[in-house]
Symmetry: C2
Subunit: 377 residues, 2 copies
């Protein structure tokens, strides 16, 4: 077992903690505030942010309109604003899409063409300091060094990483998520479960990480269940939020050689073609099919997952339980349910294969990806 | 639930990784290498360290002889060396005692009297950069911001904390621990279990942390069991080492208000009076008694601990199983077995009470501490 673990992000968690933002950013002269469609004006988050910045003498300019599956075009537009306004920090106020777009801007101001970093043609060495106020727990981006952006022209939903991309400070007040639509909560939980699974299934003898991962998976399921019954359960909301952060801050992958990530590659193809499909929804469709297809390549770990997470005697039974759970949470678990037919499979498989995320549990060829997508129909 | 999580230590873990030390320290002109009794010259660690430093042009001076329960006198002596030699970094090569002494030196060069930081009369604002090569997994000091030192004159085994005390880099090559005496491995596991328990038992609704803590406790038990059967089990050694780091790097205490720590206060009194008693051994004696005395103050959490960690129907049964496990690992679980009689209890209770670590599950008075020590007889 070998690994490097490094994560310098400071997380400030709890109700009312947005008020601490300005103090943390006090050294900033002018920040670029990045936001989505405007929900932060409705739930009071924007007001808390503005108040805290003002109280600490931090100036800012704003860019709005980052959408789910954030696009390269939007990011480029924001990089121009950041340069023109000579900001010295980026402040992401939103969920994973806003944070990923912000990370890309933070690094992009120092690169000739930021897309080169996604293509592996440029290395990210520096970035503007990044601050985060999280409004939707799901991607874990608030405490990691990666970002995913969609290049719409080339239909590539790809990622890049760099140590400079760790947020300096992330504030998580999970109580602001109580007003989210129910399906957003479920998508978030499925995203987190999928992040843990991408790591976990590579494991064999990494007992500490596997046990922690099982704890995280069980917790995400139990807390999401509680929230489906009562959206205002603040304890469940807080526990789910923290589990989702841990799911992709490095802890869940310790010793697991970078994880598998083929399912994410396949899902990214789906949402690159259909930006209306939420990432969590796509994962709910792909993951059960991927497990069914590959589990015999690492049978002991899949078996302990079935037993320890789903209390199931076989992997097949566990997959059935997982799909039933996702369905109970109101999430589709088949391609047809989101309007994708068999005819599209070759193009999706081709796109996923091009991403290079072909997996570790089993290295997938294009034919394998097609078979998985057929299982997902 | 509210908390701040921040841990910037970079952990480099794996066989042969000591060779990466010099590269990480390349900016250092002259380091103070702090070591214990000389075991690192026998197990090859010193040679690997020296080779890596030389290859990267890092000079160093050495101080040897840090003992378990490191003393203030020894720390003061080392601070003088650090000042005289004008070192710009500290390198701890050893276990928790060496690391804690090194942290105290790193901060102490900037303080008029470092003991003031332990008494709460001085605040640690800066410290020399600290690097660690870990040779004994137990205390978790390799990835946290605290240190424990014994003031022998005043019979005070006390701790201090500060963000400047986080090691910059800790290298953990757990394979070098294969030659440890068996009881050191067991003491390490008991230390880690105790760190998790100090946090866990404060919990009520912090489901994510409680589940992770249970995973860590179960893993420490299973991996220590494997090592008692086969000291050369490298996977078990690596998994135990990482679990022990996680046990006190902040993760196990998220949302738990700083933990309880009364048992540590009581143990510190024992080892302040009897420096021959290992910290892990003292904890094996105190913790079962403390649990027996306080569990009715947070019954649901103690009950889930009994069920989920020890597969026991009652707390009493779990305590019995824990003591049997520790005994099977070759560790004493009563005061009499380490030569402490009832006559000493009032003095020990007085000392523990003075430390101010009186607990959160139940705030202990001097009489309570005496009762716990009687249960530990």
């Amino acid at each position: 077992m070998e690994f490097t673990f490094y994560n310098p992000t400071k997380v400030i968690f709890g109700k009312g903690k947005i008020s601490e933002l300005g103090k943390e950013m006090a050294f900033v002269k002018k920040a670029l505030l990045v936001a989505g469609s405007g929900s932060i004006k409705k739930n009071g988050v924007y007001e808390q942010v503005a108040k805290s910045l003002e109280a600490n003498g931090v100036e800012w300019v704003e860019v709005w309109g980052v959408k789910p599956n954030p696009t390269l075009a939007k990011v480029r537009e924001m990089i121009e604003v950041a340069k023109k306004e000579k900001v010295d920090a980026i402040l992401a106020v939103g969920g994973g899409s806003v944070i990923d777009a912000s990370k890309t801007v933070a690094a992009g101001v120092f690169l000739e063409d930021v897309w080169n970093a996604f293509e592996g043609k440029a290395i990210v060495k520096k970035a503007l300091p990044l601050f985060v106020v999280l409004t939707l727990s799901a991607t874990g981006s608030e405490m990691n060094r990666g970002a995913v952006i969609t290049n719409e022209e080339e239909k590539k939903k790809w990622s890049f990483v760099g140590e400079a991309l760790f947020p300096r400070v992330s504030i998580i007040d999970s109580s602001v998520q109580a007003t989210l639509p129910k399906n957003q909560t479920a998508y978030g939980a499925i995203d987190g479960l999928s992040h843990v699974m991408e790591n976990y299934f590579v494991g064999k003898k990494e007992e500490t990480t596997l046990a922690v991962d099982e704890a995280l998976m069980k917790t995400m399921i139990s807390e999401c269940d509680k929230l489906m019954a009562n959206q205002n359960d603040e304890d469940a909301r807080a526990n789910l939020a923290w589990a989702l952060t841990l799911a992709l801050n490095g802890i869940s992958g310790v010793g697991l050689k970078g994880g598998d990530w083929a399912s994410h590659g396949i899902e990214h193809a789906i949402s690159a073609f259909h930006t209306r499909i939420a990432h969590g929804e796509g994962l709910a469709i792909v993951f059960p099919a991927w497990i069914t297809y590959v589990h015999k390549n690492n049978p002991e770990t899949f078996k302990r997952w079935a037993e320890n997470v789903w209390n199931a005697g076989t992997v097949e039974e566990a997959v059935k339980k997982m799909k039933a759970k996702y369905a109970w949470w109101g999430v589709a678990t088949s391609l047809r349910r989101v309007g994708i037919s068999e005819a599209e499979i070759p193009a999706l498989a081709e796109n996923a294969f091009q991403s290079g995320r072909v997996g570790q549990v089993k290295q997938l060829g294009k034919k394998d990806i097609e078979e998985i997508l057929k299982l997902a129909l």
